[in-house]
Amino acid sequence: MTSFRLTNSCISVLFYLIISINSAYANDQTIDFSEQGKQKTAEYALSNVKALSKEIQGLKKSVVDLNKDLQLMEEELLFPSSTQLSIFVSLDIGQFFTLESVKVKINGKQVASHLYSEKQRQALARGGVQRLYLTNLNLGKHKIVAFFTGIGPNGRPYKRASELEFQKSKGSQFLELAIVDDRAKQEAKFTIKQW
């Protein structure tokens, strides 16, 4: 949603004029309906926020740094690079297919599934890539099958599967479940790409 706003100065001018429109008629508007002391305390409290803002910015930054370190440490602990396998989902355009869900099986066993929200679909369509699954896998041959469900051309329910036999070698391995519009066939193409 796009928002449009009035500038602060214009808002204050407008606020002033709307308030003063009644004060032109009545005295009630000139009454200060508050204890001045309390209002000043409130104003002072709000002005303190500016000073706190620097501290909050510092805190936010250090928590981001901490999260980075924790993620690095946790991956090393739970998913060492020798056995690590990451599965990603990407969508190019998405004109012929509205992705609703993805299900992944590795060696016949279901390991991941995901139901997409509109926001996630939009993010994928704009070039975002989702890391769907992270796991450990033995070295050697494996088979992955991905099932895609959604709405295809002409608004019909659409279900497709794609599979790939791959060799897990040493080092982190990345697989991309890519959904690409095939303009010639006027439908989506589903592939599994090994990086």
């Binding site: 449009f4 407008l14 981001v64 901490l66």
Partner: protein, 577 residues
């Protein structure tokens, strides 16, 4: 300097009005990791996106789109509420790279976007001259995504710097037909009014009204209502009550600004001695929530009007109803105070923050209110920028606490995994495992050879039946033997390195430290929020008590008058005797 900047902005505006923008809308995907950051960014999960960026950067995974990633990092940092850090990032991206002799590989598109966001940030910080100077550094093609916003920002800066001729020029050219157009016209009108140029203010407020008629979407109609009230104010100042009244007649009677309009309409009619038309407006207000300041005033005013019109019974009834309404209002304030003082209330506000704010801004500025969802007593307060900043900061702090709580739980799991690994893979444990397995292997070897011998005693037909079973058993046994030999070869079992364990312990300690810091900061902000909200409630309470007292006085006056009349009547009846 100022004139040069103004000229530059004007020139750029004119230039871009005719320039075809060539940049593509979607980011091209060249890097999986970059894509995962975008995935979070486009969902406005700036915190996760920033972490993703930091992780990918520390692993040197962002190899292809370094400058784009840096620009994105600046944008995410800004959106996450770290303007100082964002400024540094944008400046790092632009420093030296702006030098024509420096072949840094930064594209014009990235450079222009960086200048634009930097300028926008300065504008929101109120540093107008700096914003104008930064915006003027944009050269060549402007990326399509920011093209309209660029023109809008340039016009806003010109308004703030009172370069109103340039603004009018932009409105007649590049901004014509833009979705920002009515807002700019309104801002321009308000600027004219602030300078005392009523004629131009009138003309531009009228343009906003015409725009609303041509585009009857709610947001433009709201803006038109505000313009009509502004025009009414100008007429009142000029002593033209009839003119003001005519403008107020056209303000819609629903929506956020209708209360003020109805009350103004009522007052204007009273001044024009058109009591018959003042009453319906005040009665419309009388039906609304007592928490609205205009409604409180209208209740007493309506009774007073009846009184003035010589309808004491209707006036008395109105005073009595007003009294009851004020009593209820005071009760509502008391219950609002109890809610605000509760343990959890600031979180409630923060949870509803998204409903009050528009979601897509690089830099949070003024809130746009959702009238129905807010506690009625706090509507005015919610539109204050400072209070809104408190809410926004609190929202982020609650999110940080949630994140740190998650990691505190994860820390327990990390320790569990490490303990398990240490126990399960000690050298002694490994030796025992090998010895036990060798014993089992010997037992199985004996059992298999006994089975083989037993099979030989059976008939040929039976031997034929058992042969495949024996063969498969031999294969399984061979597999077991192979694995056992592999395990035997392990000289020292795998253990987490001391370095990793120390690192983990340090990180776990940092989680606890940050949790303490976050809680402290939350307490400070919650306390500020309670002070401010209570001060606002005080204001409401005092106003309500004032009008309540007015209603009581009115009632007493009418009772008094009635008693006097009764006494006079009684005296009149006694007198002739």
């Amino acid at each position: 300097m100022r004139n040069t900047t103004q000229l530059l902005i004007t020139l750029v505006l004119v230039f871009f009005g005719f320039e075809k923008v060539t940049a593509s809308e979607n980011e091209s995907l060249r890097d999986l990791k970059y894509g995962t950051i975008l995935f979070d960014y486009y969902q406005q999960n700036y915190f996760s996106a920033l972490i993703g960026h930091e992780v990918a950067s520390s692993r040197k995974e962002l190899t292809h789109q370094i400058n784009e990633a840096k620009l994105l990092q600046g944008g995410m940092t800004l959106s996450y509420g770290l303007p100082d850090e964002a400024e540094k990032i944008f400046q790092q991206l632009l420093v030296n790279k702006d030098d024509a002799n420096n072949d840094s590989g930064i594209s014009d598109e990235v450079k222009n976007k960086a200048w634009f966001y930097l300028a926008k940030m300065y504008y929101h910080k109120g540093e107008d001259n700096k914003a104008a100077a930064t915006l003027a550094r944009i050269q060549g093609d402007i990326p399509d995504e920011i093209h309209k916003e660029f023109n809008y920002l340039a016009t806003l800066i010109n308004i703030r710097n009172t370069h109103l001729d340039s603004v009018e020029q932009a409105l007649g050219g590049v901004m014509q037909g833009s979705i920002y157009e009515p807002y700019l016209i309104f801002n321009l009108a308000a600027s004219f009014l602030a300078r005392g140029d009523k004629d131009n203010a009138r003309t531009n407020f009228a343009r906003v009204i015409v725009y609303g008629q041509a585009h009857p979407q709610d947001e433009y109609l709201v803006l038109a209502d505000r313009a009509k009230q502004a025009l009414a104010h100008i007429e009142v100042e000029d002593g033209d009550l009839l003119g003001a009244w005519l403008h107020l007649q056209n303000v819609r009677t629903t929506g956020l600004y209708s209360n003020r309009a109805l009350l103004s309409y009522g007052w204007t009619a009273i001044k024009l001695e058109r009591y018959d038309v003042a009453i319906p407006a005040l009665r419309a207000l009388d039906q609304r929530s007592i928490s609205i300041a205009e409604v409180q005033e209208a209740k007493v005013l309506l009774a007073h009007l009846y009184e003035q019109q010589g309808a004491p019974r209707t006036a008395l009834k109105q005073y009595l109803l007003a009294e009851r309404a004020f009593a209820e209002g005071i009760k509502s304030i008391e219950s609002a105070r109890r809610i605000i003082d509760g343990q959890k209330i600031p979180e409630e506000f923060v949870i509803n923050l998204d409903a009050m704010m528009d979601e897509t801004d690089w830099y949070g500025s003024e809130p746009s209110l959702d009238y129905n969802k807010l506690t009625p007593f706090l509507i005015e307060l919610m539109s204050s920028n400072a209070f809104h900043t408190v809410l926004k900061e609190l929202r982020d702090l609650y999110a940080l606490r949630e994140n740190l709580d998650y990691w505190a739980r994860q820390a327990q799991e990390h320790r569990l995994i490490i303990d398990h690994r240490q126990q399960g893979w000690s050298s002694d444990g490994l030796k025992k495992f090998i010895a036990d397995t060798e014993n089992q292997k010997t037992q199985m070897e004996i059992q298999i050879s006994e089975l083989g011998l037993h099979a030989k005693t059976l008939s040929v037909k039976e031997q034929y039946r058992f042969a495949p079973l024996l063969d498969s058993m031999a294969v399984d046994f061979e597999f077991l033997e192979k694995n056992l030999n592999k395990v035997k070869k392990i000289e020292k079992p795998y253990q987490e390195s001391e370095k990793n364990l120390r690192w983990m312990a340090q990180l776990h300690e940092r989680i606890q430290q940050q949790l303490v810091n976050t809680d402290k900061m939350i307490k400070k902000l919650e306390s500020i929020m309670r002070i401010v909200v209570n001060a606002e409630l005080d204001k409401h309470e005092e106003r309500m008590k004032y009008y309540w007292a007015q209603a009581r006085l009115g009632k007493a006056r009418l009772y008094d008058k009635t008693l006097n009349t009764l006494e006079e009547d009684a005296l009149k009846q006694v007198a002739p005797q």
